[in-house]
């Protein structure tokens, strides 16, 4: 098996990558700006729906139902799509999917392909596989184009170039499109991209897309987007290949009623996406003549096998959890080392890789719960993060120092006598660092804390010591006298 998620297996640990990005003022400024805008828009349009909570529950329930009967729905999808003139290919892992797609493109004698925005092709590193086979992929989604031309990596599921501002984009376009001059307004940048892309839409014979939803009942695929470039890819070329993760299945066309309310509101803060494309097989004289669907596992069945983390596969890739996440807000997407960034990336990336890589990602969260709050399909991301941390510890992959500290804490907390002793020991141990009740600097793994924060010193008397000296006796007497006394008299404050 060659399951991988982009370059995640070789990416640096989250804390190390985050350290660099936190110091990048430009990225931080851009990410903060962009996520603030999307978040505000999202909150506004979500507040318009009185049945938002019911919609979330419905989305969750439909996805959970599909996952429980995935074998059935996948076969139903295969049958319906084949009947409508599509061809289904099954890919166990990234390499297999790449091989299938490269062969399909080669069979057309094509040397170029155009692409609709798809994160799944980044997951399997399709562009690299195509280039290795002498095929040039052109990204047509504006943000993906910016990432591709900038030889950059996507930093957000929905807005892959979110870490770039318009002046940076202008420079990339001028350099890579060979433009002598280019305006600074968003319209100027869009125009440049349009000029660059239009002739490719007309010339290139093969398009590659992902899928937002694959509808089992009809064998249809649904892609939603904002620019219309996707629509051109889906309708102009002679051959269309769609790469679809097996978790993208929904049972019926009717179910789109739920998801097409949840997705645009959560993703871009729009009531509806400007372009909603749904197609079924091939139709003579209309759109592509050949239509292929590559159904991809690449670790997904492994996620499905874990009942506690299964709902990770409910994800409809709206990116709301990224925009809400206070960690993502500080680092942007690149710190996660995966095409799937943010809270959902932190649970999806390691699971797809059988928990063997990206082990710092489940710890890249303060468990604040903002992701769960906004998730349109109610994935309890904090619970899954904790569950995955448990798996890492169980595998014996947690850092040695951490394991020792946890063991020591277990020992100290086993009974109150030990806790009392530990409290006394802490008072002794802190003496060299205690500056009048405040600790300004500590060595070792606590140095990160004290580099920007003070720490209170352990006070002379613990609560339990105070209780034992001041209250215990009184309450013991009271207990004996309880039949006579109701409650102690209010005390003077100390």
């Amino acid at each position: 098996m060659s399951v991988y998620v982009g370059e995640a297996a070789d990416a640096p640990d989250f804390p190390a990558a985050a350290k660099k990005l936190v110091a990048n003022t430009q990225t931080r400024h851009n990410v903060r700006n962009a996520t603030d805008i999307i978040r505000r828009k999202r909150d506004r349009v979500v507040a318009e729906l009185p049945d938002w909570e019911e919609l979330r529950q419905a989305g969750h329930d439909i996805k959970q139902h599909v996952l429980r009967h995935l074998d059935f729905y996948l076969q139903q999808f295969e049958a319906a799509c084949t009947k409508a003139g599509g061809r289904i290919h099954w890919a166990r892992d990234a390499d297999e999917a790449n091989r299938i797609i490269v062969d399909l493109v080669k069979a057309q004698n094509a040397t170029e392909v155009i692409k609709v925005k798809t994160m799944t092709t980044d997951e399997i590193r399709l562009n690299a596989a195509l280039e290795a086979a002498g095929i040039t992929p052109y990204e047509t989604d504006l943000a993906d184009l910016i990432v591709q031309l900038g030889e950059d990596r996507p930093s957000h599921i929905v807005v892959p170039a979110l870490h770039r501002n318009k002046l940076e984009i202008r420079s990339i376009f001028m350099e890579k499109m060979g433009l002598k001059d280019l305006g600074e307004r968003p319209e100027d940048l869009t125009n440049a991209a349009r000029q660059y892309l239009r002739e490719k839409f007309l010339r290139v014979p093969v398009a590659i897309s992902g899928a937002n939803f694959a509808i089992a009942e009809t064998g249809s695929i649904c892609v939603v987007e904002s620019e219309g470039n996707g629509r051109m890819c889906l309708s102009l070329p002679r051959v269309l290949i769609s790469l679809v993760g097996i978790e993208k299945i929904i049972p019926t066309l009717q179910d789109l009623e739920v998801f097409l309310q949840l997705l645009p509101r959560s993703a871009t803060g729009e009531r509806m996406n400007p372009y909603n494309s749904i197609w079924t097989g091939v139709s003579p004289g209309d759109g592509p003549e050949e239509f292929h669907v590559v159904l991809l596992d690449n670790g997904r069945i492994n996620v499905l096998a874990d009942p506690e983390a299964r709902e990770t596969l409910d994800c409809i890739r709206c990116g709301a959890c990224l925009n809400a996440c206070p960690v993502y807000r500080q680092t942007g997407g690149h710190a996660y080392g995966s095409v799937y960034a943010g809270p959902i990336g932190a649970i999806l990336t390691p699971q797809l890789q059988f928990m063997e890589h990206s082990q710092t990602l489940p710890y890249a969260s303060s468990l604040c719960g903002a992701c769960y709050e906004v998730c349109p399909v109610k994935i309890n991301i904090p619970e899954i993060l904790v569950h995955l941390r448990g798996k890492i510890v169980e595998r014996g992959d947690a850092p040695l120092l951490e394991r020792a500290a946890m063991k020591a804490a277990s020992y100290a907390l086993e009974n109150s006598e030990r806790l009392a002793t530990a409290q006394k020991l802490a008072r002794w141990a802190q003496i060299p660092f205690n500056r009048g009740g405040t600790i300004h600097s500590l060595p070792g793994f606590l140095a990160g804390w004290t580099s920007v924060r003070d720490l209170p010193a352990v006070p002379k008397e613990s609560f339990r010591e105070w209780w034992s000296k001041n209250k215990k006796l009184k309450y013991e007497i009271l207990k004996r006298e309880l039949p006579k006394l109701e409650a102690p008299k209010p005390e003077e404050p100390e």
């Binding site: 510890v393 086993e414 804390w449 609560f463 404050p493």
Partner: protein, 254 residues
């Protein structure tokens, strides 16, 4: 009413003043306090860091200590969240029906401090006096897990002399997250810096919350930067009364 106090391990060790304030306030309201000395820790740190097996004996011990308590008061919303969100799961995973039953019996008796006052004791004016400007940081667990809503604000609004100033971006995490702050100090510091900016923008003198863990984190930066703003647990504000305010609020050591 007889109220059993679960002080929590870190309040016991680092913030005894909060415990004293809870005792003083509950007694002032005419209740008796029961402190069971065998108590230690709810197991949150172990559980959330991935040491779920190690958290199990701590849950057992908690159940042993508090099995017959009438009402349990916990001045820490993250510990209450641990108990409510994870004890049922842990009990189910243990495969012991007796443990499942014990947790089920325990949960309705567990109250976070502000919940206890507002929901169980039905008070929002506890007769406190605290002549300071205060802003409230709604800690993540109190906000999203316990969903305490406006209970802390109602309690603060019942305090004479106190001016409550709304905190901008209040729902943003302060960046503590238990072991998160140790494992990811850079990101945690960046998050903290956002929180500090918001607090300073209120021009309040004091920042309060239901969790000393978040307050320790926030105060760590407020103190380091000599901002002249400090953190005080809600219990200590509510325990203060005329004419002598509670000891920790006189401003020493900030």
């Amino acid at each position: 009413m007889q109220i059993s106090l679960f002080i929590t391990c870190y309040n016991d060790t680092l913030f005894p003043e909060t415990g004293k304030a809870v005792v003083a306030l509950l007694e002032r309201l005419g209740h008796t306090v029961d402190f069971r000395e065998a108590q230690t820790c709810c197991g949150q740190m172990h559980y959330n860091t991935g040491y779920q097996k190690e958290a199990l004996p701590l849950m057992r011990s908690f159940l042993d200590v508090f099995w017959d308590a009438e009402v349990i008061c916990i001045p820490s919303s993250s510990c209450v969240a641990m108990i409510r969100d994870h004890y049922p799961k842990m009990a189910a995973a243990s495969g012991e029906p007796a443990l499942v039953e014990a947790v089920k019996n325990l949960l309705p008796r567990v109250y976070e401090f502000a919940e206890l006052l507002v929901d169980k004791l039905g008070v929002t004016d506890v007769g406190a006096f605290f002549p300071h400007t205060v802003t409230l940081h709604p800690s993540c667990h109190s906000l999203r897990s316990l969903q305490v809503g406006d209970k802390p604000a109602r309690l603060l609004n019942g305090v004479r002399g106190l001016t409550l100033i709304e905190l901008p971006e209040a729902g943003q995490c302060c960046g503590f997250g238990g072991t998160f702050a140790v494992k990811n100090p850079e990101v945690s510091s960046a998050m903290l810096s956002d929180k500090i900016n918001c607090i300073l923008n209120t021009h309040a003198e004091i920042c309060t919350a239901l969790d000393n863990s978040c307050l320790m984190h926030i105060n760590g930066a407020l103190s380091r930067q000599r901002t002249g703003v400090r953190c005080v647990h809600l219990a200590e504000i509510l325990a203060s009364s005329e004419p002598i305010p509670h000891s920790r609020i006189t401003g020493e050591g900030a």
